[in-house]
Symmetry: C2
Amino acid sequence: MTVLAVDIGGTKFAAAAVTADGEILARAEIPLSGSAPAGDTLSEVVARITATVPPSELKGVGVGSAGPLDHVEGTVSPVNIPSWRGFPLVDVLGEMLPGRPVRLAGDGQCMALGEWWRGTPDGPVSRAMLGMVVSTGVGGGFVLDGVPYVGPTGNAGHIGHITVDSGGEACPCGGIGCVETIASGPSMARWAGSNGWQGDDARALAADAADGHPVARLAFQRAADALATAILTAAALLDLDHVVVGGGVAAAGPALFDPLKRAVERNAGMAFLRRLRVEPTSLGRDAGLFGAAALVLRAT
Amino acid sequence: MTVLAVDIGGTKFAAAAVTADGEILARAEIPLSGSAPAGDTLSEVVARITATVPPSELKGVGVGSAGPLDHVEGTVSPVNIPSWRGFPLVDVLGEMLPGRPVRLAGDGQCMALGEWWRGTPDGPVSRAMLGMVVSTGVGGGFVLDGVPYVGPTGNAGHIGHITVDSGGEACPCGGIGCVETIASGPSMARWAGSNGWQGDDARALAADAADGHPVARLAFQRAADALATAILTAAALLDLDHVVVGGGVAAAGPALFDPLKRAVERNAGMAFLRRLRVEPTSLGRDAGLFGAAALVLRAT
């Protein structure tokens, strides 16, 4: 069986035709442009797939989208696509491939599910896993005993919006001192800029951290501390054994993972927390596509 | 069907014979004494039940215990019962009632399950519920779609040991600024004492808070803020719809729940968090016994 997988992030749309064995038969990605209507970009990325794999061979559609989601209505309202407030994503995809099931989950949830299905972690198969995307925003998802846990409204895994600094900044979500106010790429670059660093974005910040720039390194340390607190919080609540971290900020590699692993190790007090493995994604940008495909391919 | 339910807390042992309809046929409770061996107290409280309901009628044993637990070995190591490091609780109860299944969960997990099964919340049945015990310690458990979520090692729900103040006190668990360092009864009394309040314990503190003593009220405000942060964190991760709070500190009533509900309302930013109901236990001290019974009666 082959399905259409769609991954809608804050800055790009991606799609793929994925087989039940985890083979990608076709793949397309289009950056999200400020000018083109997002619905047109969605049509175009799907058309590139169906040009290679005929629609008749696609037996379902799995889609991961930046949130929040409304599972009852099948709509999404990605924060970074302002024109998509309540966009009827499930209906629109259903019209593109009539008669096929369409399954929707959050982008962090799909990343977690993709890593669980196709990732190659060190150690045993996870029974309680968190996948995190650290990028323009910070999101996540859980896979518990092989099944995505999405919650009653489909919004489980909002790890970017838990408070890690109760005296911290107000977050656009309405909370205070959320992980995202410290550890998202834009937050890190903003903090570094206000502390004398001169650069454009988190990518430049990562390069400078790798070169030993002290403010850049401190920005990654702060982000790592916030992420470690969030990870240990989720682990204490859900008895996690495995955390996989992807996204643009995670692509910085050791600049993030060295201080992150140290902070997790330092603060993991209770014995059951000490088995936790924290690893970078092994699938890179494909994790979300594999997870979206798995929504259909591994539906129970 | 009738089962034996056992609830082992930090300061008392309780047991009951509970029917599948949720009727309590016999009930016993013994305070945990510093001098008597805890194993003897356990035997005594079970003997009081079997004096009324013959062992032949008890078809299984459900037990909730203060943690941490080791589910593989069936042992418990309650922090407040120092002589019980690695106590083989499952084997000992199995010897008291040979041939019966013995099921073990954390005390917070049982409280949550008991509330889910027998509690009378306002509003619809919960699909994602957190039960919290705020007492000598702070613990909790989750019931997701009617099933306790205990995690791979059985330790899910450790909400007392998530960091809510990253600049706060070291916690005996090894973490920093855990909920329990602010919101447990002893922590509240200690903080109030170091700020000029004169009194013995959290019970006296609750009475003074109800009388308007400013330091006592502030101690409850601090605890409420810490609990609200923890509750909203769990809700963002697990998409919770319902939180039930019990335990000795919760028995203070409005002194805790008024500031707690205000803090939850003030800081619940994302739309899906705003449906969260936060309520006191409706079962009082029986919640843990009902939950322990449900481990057997509602096993799938």
